[in-house]
Symmetry: C2
Subunit: 332 residues, 2 copies
């Protein structure tokens, strides 16, 4: 797949929604301000201006437009979704003790854990105010449930990710929590605020859910195959941080006793020595788990594409369809 | 003041509301469960069962009953308020790197920072679901604003607490964020869910606000005067953690140049040596700042008492009035 082609869908959406995205960015900037605590915009500007793709707010805007919405509140919901995402990143930074995010040092290295936790809490509260302003209890219900799924998935990951008993079903649950729940809420609330019929709202949920899963599986695969300059992460970070992701889960499922003790030592017990990453890659190559993981990502991208069939035909729908290629394009 | 008398108001409220408090505790236990992440109830049970006074949920129940509420949702709101409180404690534990809470080791020493952050997020999300179930947008608005005030106050504290320029006005703002905002939201939503007239809702807010401020000032004072067995904290913790609280702020405002360098070294620069706590106490004694702080706490308790005048005469109102003594009773 040609990079010139695969970046198009994302850019096309960004161009089509550029006026609304400007309104979202303005709203984000206004609401992240704090009269009393200047530390807040310091910390958040670092993340919000760091050139994220704004994929999630764009999904909300696209869903609302696709369902014919003409009111002002999709802007609030798009900002809500980006605030929740940013808050999650801040809390992840504390959790992971990771040193890099989008190629820059994480907030908790520049400032400290305290700021990351509390400014994340502030952004959650701000997102909560924004959604209340829409006056839609159904939207609030969806986002409250998404928030619970996200937090539960993150906690589940704490225990599941270093446990070799974690299978693909548990992995999927973690992935729904850490990524897909916010994608599906982002698209679903776009339909709900537009007053779309239930079948369309359900289709938007299914699209966001499958797209998010494809996106996260692709991310986990790239951790083993990508290059740091493109992903902003170092190859093998997940292995070094003892995170059991799909490529390893598939290898563990087929492991010889000797391979099983390798995984036990490196992932469960965390006693890693130089050369272990290379051994891990060799075992994964032996069973073709990187290819199998790629196939799973493509399957979910296809599910996302199919979900769109129930939505009105529209240039935006075409762009959302192309986006299903985009999220897995880095795998090609 | 006789201890036998001053504990009465709290017990009287607990007895009067015992049936509803049982319902609140049941709801808390059900909603803190997680099918997928057993780590969650492990961490929260530690806090929720640790024998907290349940002061905040009791305030919500009392406010709703005082305003004649007969529906089911004050139970949800009381559980909401306790979840927010517990989530805040979990995030505070990360932040403070404190080793003790209510006389027990904090969750982040028993588990780790990761669990404290993410389980706190889970409780926030659960509280959010509970309040959405009430179906009251006004309640959601109040709690969203309270959440923002809490987080903003906590972030403000990060920068203000080690800065000698912090005056009593900034201190008050921090205190509203860390304590009074949840007290006032707890009482206000009780009135709102009961459909009370605005004058009563405002009176409930004023009561909770003043009670919370009295409570926090008392807490900050006890840090210098209390005994560890009663407060579950060590005397001088705030000083050692370089937290500028009211007794010190009052001393800084009157400091000689020599005293000012003492405060600068110990609080701003954090270079403390043995005997510094004793010196700090001697300076505070010289200006009578502990007595002045105690007088402030009593003033706020009196403001809380006066706010109740606008509410219906009722045994519960008498108990809320007695509670204004209770929160400062430890100072006598």
């Amino acid at each position: 797949m040609d990079t010139g082609i695969v970046t198009k869908p994302h850019d096309a959406l960004a161009n089509t929604l550029s006026e609304e995205m400007t309104a979202v960015n303005d709203l984000i900037r206004r609401r992240m301000a704090s009269k009393h605590a200047p530390r807040i915009p310091e910390v958040t500007a670092h993340l919000v201006e760091a050139g994220g793709k704004r994929l999630r707010p764009m999904l909300t805007l696209a869903a609302a437009r696709l369902c014919g919405y003409s009111g002002p509140f999709h802007i609030h919901l798009a900002a809500t979704v980006e605030f929740i995402h940013t808050a999650t990143l801040l809390h992840d930074d504390v959790v992971d003790e990771s040193g890099q995010r989008r190629g820059r040092p994480t907030a908790n290295l520049l400032w400290d854990n305290k700021s990351s936790v509390l400014v994340g809490d502030y952004l959650f509260a701000r997102s909560f105010q924004l959604m209340v302003e829409t006056g839609s209890l159904r939207v609030l219900d969806i986002l409250a449930n998404a928030a619970a799924t996200i937090a539960e998935g993150e906690v589940l990951q704490l225990t599941a990710s270093q446990n070799l008993a974690t299978d693909e079903a548990v992995y999927l649950q973690v992935v729904r929590g850490k990524t897909a729940a916010l994608f599906s809420a982002a698209t679903e609330v776009g339909g709900v605020i537009a007053g779309a019929p239930q079948a369309q709202v359900q289709a938007l949920f299914n699209y966001g859910d499958a797209l998010g899963i494809a996106f996260q599986i692709a991310d986990d695969l790239l951790d083993y195959t990508g290059d740091a300059s493109a992903t902003g992460k170092n190859v093998g970070d997940d292995f070094r941080e003892r995170k059991l992701t799909l490529p390893v889960i598939k290898a563990v499922a087929q492991a010889t006793p000797e391979e099983l003790s390798f995984w036990k030592r490196t992932i469960e017990d965390g006693r890693q020595t130089p050369g272990d990453l290379e051994t891990a890659l060799a075992i994964m190559a032996k069973y073709g788990t990187l290819d199998a993981t790629r196939a799973d990502a493509l399957d979910w991208a296809e599910k996302a594409r199919l979900a769109l069939a129930k939505l009105p035909q529209d240039p935006i729908r075409d762009m959302l369809e192309d986006l299903t290629d985009y999220v897995v394009s880095r795998l090609s």
